[in-house]
């Protein structure tokens, strides 16, 4: 059974932005795209374990706040050096005004 975790309210995340969400000793990033869709990935950049929450979201790209590692937060795909390992992504659904993410 997929375990859906209540991560935040819809209004907690601005459009084309992200917030940090910590749960059970793990840390995640919750994104709201410019077309108002929510996504979730692991919170730490795969290059040097810097939290992505301070990074810049442009369209569907999250840029690591430290070394310019960039990822497509919809798929987790690393978009070039110095990041070469993809980000893990998680299913997200919106129920009412809440954002839920599925943790395996």
């Amino acid at each position: 059974m997929t375990q859906w975790i209540d991560a935040c309210a819809v209004e907690d995340v601005e459009e084309e932005d992200l917030i940090r969400f910590d749960h059970d000793g793990r840390t995640f990033a919750i994104y709201r795209s410019p077309d108002d869709v929510f996504y979730a990935t692991d919170g730490l950049c795969t290059h040097e374990h810097v939290h992505l929450a301070d990074g810049l979201v442009m369209d569907h790209i999250i840029e690591c706040p430290k070394h310019n590692g960039r990822f497509d937060y919809r798929t987790g795909e690393a978009k070039g050096a110095p990041a070469c390992i993809n980000l893990k992504t998680y299913p997200v659904k919106v129920e009412g005004d809440r954002v839920l993410i599925a943790l395996a």
């Binding site: 084309e16 040097e48 810097v50 939290h51 301070d54 990074g55 810049l56 442009m58 840029e63 706040p65 430290k66 070394h67 310019n68 050096a81 110095p82 070469c84």
Partner: protein, 394 residues
């Protein structure tokens, strides 16, 4: 393309260039030559006290990309007529295109010969191994490397004295208002900062200042800048002026030889500059790879620097000019960004300091505004309620 591409220097720039050649679809031979015995590693963590080494790419990735990595070998000369390099093991390696990415070496001024320097993994291992509670470190130079090492040493419990010839820290690239934040923090952490002080001499256990004072230490490290490693280029007859002179594509006067990273001097906003920057080394490595394969577009990335000291993070996009005014934007929790406009009213630099990565988004947006020459009204720069990202959307 029979002989392939040879890259001299297996630092951030050379490694990025090698992989970029494959990403661009190049199928000829790629040989990456590094003087050090280690698998190529990232240099920024050396002064920041993180776990070492942090390799740029795992060894298997070189094989997967069909990159021949030759370690612990030096290039001893370039024969431009024959298009071949001579190696320290006596072999000769021909090239179709050659990239010089030899970087820079730590500088020592006369009288500082006995001081250590921090440039390589071996340097870092020796210095960090000696930093323990009660040890005394003397750092000559209040620049990025010296101050990062000072912060690392304090965290390890060592006593630290920093000696700087200028009247403030990081005077070369950091605005005074930001340098003052770091100065206060180092003093609060117990670092003995001696500013406006010259060094008369160094022996292995002390620094003697120009005024005769003697700073006793167990370890003395000089962090007084770097000189580009241009010897091979000079001997090959290429133009060198504090850096190997390259054009907008990073090509030297020789159509088959390119130079990139800390060792090159390149055109930037109407002048020629040489940077010592991890990000620029990567960007130029990738650009040189494309240029060697025929791309004509100019290198146009905005310079970007950062420094971590204690929990303070500094980021700079563009090249700040201390002689021009700054526009300040306060971000709360002691974080702020200083913007600078050029004569045409376009953003030319942004420098910020805050806890952790508090200024990262602003500096990243500024970097893109600089690169795209987006006009920015000064009142919008100073008003923290205005989201500068919107300016990028036009």
């Amino acid at each position: 393309m029979g002989s392939g591409i040879v890259i001299i220097g297996a630092g951030e720039c050379g490694v990025r260039a090698a992989f970029a050649l494959r990403e661009e679809g190049y199928r000829g031979a790629v040989t990456l030559i590094g003087a050090e015995p280690h698998l190529p590693y990232e240099r920024p963590p050396l002064s920041k006290g993180g776990p070492l080494p942090k390799v740029i790419a795992e060894e298997a990735r070189y094989g997967e990309a069909d990159i021949t990595l030759r370690r612990a070998v030096r290039v001893t000369g370039i024969d431009t007529a024959a298009r071949a390099v001579a190696l320290s093991d006596g072999s000769i390696l021909p090239y179709d295109k050659l990239l010089i990415a030899t970087g820079a070496q730590a500088r020592r001024f006369p009288g500082m010969e006995a001081a250590g320097t921090l440039r390589s993994l071996d340097d870092a291992s020796a210095i960090l191994g000696a930093l323990r509670p009660g040890a005394r470190l003397a750092v000559i130079g209040g620049g990025f490397i010296g101050l990062e090492l000072a912060a690392t040493a304090r965290r390890l419990g060592a006593g630290v004295t920093v000696i700087e010839v200028a009247e403030r820290l990081m005077a070369r690239v950091v605005p005074a208002e930001i340098a003052a934040v770091f100065e206060a923090r180092h003093r609060a952490e117990g670092v003995d900062l001696i500013l406006s002080a010259t060094v008369a001499g160094v022996d292995p256990i002390a620094v003697v200042l120009g005024d005769g004072r003697r700073i006793e230490a167990d370890i003395v490290v000089a962090g007084v800048g770097a000189v580009p490693d241009t010897r091979l280029a000079e001997e090959a007859g290429l133009a060198v002026a504090d850096g190997i002179v390259v054009d907008h594509r990073l090509k030297t006067q020789d159509a088959h030889i390119f130079a990139a990273g800390d060792c090159c001097r390149f055109p930037y906003r109407g002048s020629h500059v040489r940077l010592e920057s991890w990000r620029c080394a990567q960007d130029q490595g990738a650009h040189a790879a494309r240029a060697m394969l025929g791309a004509e577009d100019p290198f146009s990335r905005t310079p970007w620097f950062w420094s971590d000291q204690y929990d303070l993070g500094l980021q700079v996009a563009g090249l700040p000019d201390p002689a021009r005014p700054f526009i300040r934007r306060d971000l709360g929790e002691e974080a702020f960004v200083l913007f600078q406009l050029d004569d045409a009213g376009l953003l030319s630099s942004a420098s910020g300091v805050g806890f952790g990565n508090a200024v990262a988004r602003h500096i990243s947006v500024a970097e893109k505004l600089i690169e795209r020459a987006v006009p920015v009204p000064p009142a919008q720069l100073s008003d923290a309620k205005i989201n500068l990202k919107k300016l990028l959307k036009g």
